[in-house]
C-alpha cells in the first residue's frame, strides 16, 4: 500500500478479515469485533466510515450472473466526442441494464472507442435490444459502436486487495 493510503492498520485488518466475505452468524460485526479484539461499535463505525468515503462500494451479495441465466455478456464500446463523454457517460450509466460504464482511452487506429458500457442479457438478442436503446439515447454523438461478447472465461479469481 502507498503511504498516503486513507486507511489505518485496524482498517487493514478489518479488510483482511472481510474480503473473503461476512460470516453467516446472527451478529457478524460482533463476531469480527471479537476476532480483532475491538468493540463491536468500533467495527460498525469503521465500516460505516469506509462506506461513506467509498472505500467500501457497498455491503451485499454478488450473484453469479451465469447461474442467474445471464449468459450473454456484452461489452458495448462507443466512439463519442471527448467533449461530450461525461454527460453521455452519466446518462448511459444511469440505465438500469448497464452494470458498469467507463471512459477509457482510445488506441488509434485499431481502437477508436472511448466509452465502455457492460450489458448483460439472457440471450444475445436481449443484449442487442439493450445496445439499440443505448444508441437511441446517444443519438448523433454515436460515431460508431461495437459489442464484444465474452466467449470464454480464461481466468476468474476474486480481487485480493490486501494480502
Amino acid at each position: 500500500m502507498s503511504e498516503d493510503t486513507p486507511i489505518d492498520a485496524m482498517d487493514r485488518r478489518l479488510i483482511q478479515a472481510t474480503q473473503a466475505g461476512l460470516q453467516l452468524v446472527q451478529r457478524p460485526y460482533h463476531q469480527l469485533a471479537s476476532e480483532l479484539g475491538i468493540p463491536a461499535e468500533e467495527v460498525m463505525h469503521r465500516l460505516r466510515r469506509m462506506l461513506e468515503t467509498g472505500i467500501i462500494r457497498r455491503i451485499g451479495v454478488v450473484p453469479n450472473h451465469y447461474t442467474l441465466g445471464y449468459r450473454a455478456n456484452g461489452m458495448s464500446v462507443w466512439d463519442v466526442p471527448d467533449e461530450d463523454i461525461s454527460a453521455i457517460g452519466r446518462r448511459v450509466g444511469a440505465l438500469d441494464f448497464v452494470s458498469h460504464a467507463y471512459h477509457r482511452p482510445r488506441h488509434l487506429p485499431m481502437w477508436p472507442y472511448n466509452l465502455f458500457a457492460m450489458v448483460h442479457g439472457r440471450t444475445r438478442a436481449e443484449v442487442e435490444d439493450k445496445v439499440a436503446a443505448i444508441a437511441d439515447l446517444i443519438g448523433s454523438a454515436d460515431r460508431g459502436h461495437s459489442i464484444l461478447y465474452s466467449t470464454r472465461i480464461l481466468k476468474k479469481t476474486g480481487l485480493r486487495i490486501v494480502g
Partner: protein
Amino acid sequence: MDDLDRRIINTLQGGFPVSERPFLDVARTLDIGERDLIDRIENLLETGVLSRFGPMYHAERLGGGLTLAALSAPAARFEEVAALVNAHAEVAHNYKRDHDLNMWFVLATERPSDIERVLAEISSETSLVVHDMRKLEEFFVGLRFEA
C-alpha cells in the same frame, strides 16, 4: 431457486445493513425469520448462485492499482499467450472476446506503479503489444442483476 431466493438476492444487492442484528433487520423487511434468511444465503453461496456476500472494496481508493488491458493473440498462440498472462498473480480476470483484440484482462496490484511493470512484463513475455485501457472516468458501477 424459488421466489423467496429471488427476493433475497434482489434485496441484498442493494445493501446489507451495518447494525447489531443485520440479518434480523433484512428478514423483517422480507417478512421471514432471521434463521431462514441466514440458511437461504448459505445455500445460495454453496450452490454458486451467489459468488460473494460481504463488503465490496474499491481497490483504487485503498491505494492499489487496477486496470483493464487488451491484446491480440494470434489464433495459433492463443493458449500459450493465455497461460503467460494468467501466470501473473495480479491478473484477476481474463476473458476471451470476439474481436481482433481477443484477450481482455483485469489487473489488480498493491501499488499503482506496479501496473506498468506487469504490463511490460506481459508484453515482453508474449512479444505482443498490450493496450492499457485504464479508466479515465467511472460513471456507474451498479452490478445489479434481476434474479
